[in-house]
Amino acid sequence: MELPLEYFIKLRNLIYERTGISYEENKIYYIKKRLQQRMDAGGFDKVEDYIRHLKIFDPQGREFQELMNLLTVNETYFFREFSQLQVFAESCLEEITREKLAAGIRNIKVFCAGCSTGEEPYTLGIILREMLENFSAWRVLIKAVDIDENVLGAARRGVYDQRAIKDVPQAYLREYFTTPSVGEYAINPNIKDMVVFEHLNLMDRKALRYEEDYDFVFCRNVLIYFDDVSRKQVVDKFYGMLRKGGFIFLGHAESLSRISTAFRIRRLNEQIVYQR
């Protein structure tokens, strides 16, 4: 299939405008493959026609959502999107702890939305344990939620395979995991105990109303599955849940600005971060 640059750019702009997700130019092949799948499914010969279909003949956005489902990779593993975790660990956490110490408060609250099988909240637990000075003097809560009870069950068990731990730095692997059997990695109780898992539907209007005073909200690569209005609703809830100065993290290719402009946008460590 021919994908002239002009149409690649048109498609890319359309995706960005509607979802805030951006694809760099070197992703042309990645997009081409998946685009071909959708075009085959819909009987489209020319990219031009498919794009026109998305713009004019897909009012409910169903085809668009099918395309997005293909484009967005939904794999979860420890220390995913490392550079973002780095700015969290090195800059944002430092700012929050400094403020708290100055105010004489020693708690940290983290919310992890769409936690799936637990890799993300446990990753955050490891980071907090590593980065907080005098860890035992802090009260740390990581609340991790998901709509799927099955994945929550797996998350509570906390046992993982090779694929999930592939990016865990060796030192952390030794320190925070045991190997009950070959190819199995179990997260240690001292990290497990930092996380509370809960069943929750983000779309439920009142679901997050009683959550407040969080320092960090992580919602990475979750909102891509929501429609425009729902996405905004959820992000507005997150705003209400954060303390003033608290940070929110979406996936690195997701742009919060297309969803809400209530947050303050900053550049830290060569990354964009968003704060209440």
Partner: protein, 124 residues
């Protein structure tokens, strides 16, 4: 990373047209769809912005708010900002200058006038 001009407008044609004008005097361009997108682009880059051209009426975030937010950041306190808008009443212009714009141009843009204004703002 070269120094760039940021063009902010919800009309694709206007973004294109202003890009053409500025490319013709050798400037590099970054475009944004609206104020929110502009902030995203600004904070994604390493701050090598020469000048910002912005419309007022745009979805998500209007031009006045964009300018006010930029002026709150010490890094962009002195960034030359030109408003290019269809709004032509005195109160719109006053609002623009209060927000922190350096210049206010009413659409449709005269290419030569725009080039001259940019040269003047950049001191060349």
């Amino acid at each position: 990373m070269g120094e760039k001009v940021l063009i902010v407008d919800d009309s694709e044609m206007i973004r294109n047209f202003h890009s053409y004008i500025l490319k013709s005097i050798g400037l590099e361009i970054v475009t944004a769809l609206d104020g929110a997108d502009a902030l995203e682009k600004i904070y994604s880059s390493d701050g090598n912005l020469l000048i910002c051209l912005t419309d007022i009426n745009m979805p998500n975030m209007d031009g006045y708010t964009l300018i006010e937010r930029l002026r709150e950041d010490p890094q962009y306190e002195d960034l030359p900002i030109i408003i290019i808008s269809t709004e032509d009443e005195l109160q719109d212009k006053q609002r623009g200058f209060e927000a922190g714009a350096n210049l206010y141009i009413v659409k449709p843009t005269d290419p030569d006038e725009l080039v001259e204004n940019i040269r003047m703002l950049l001191g060349k």
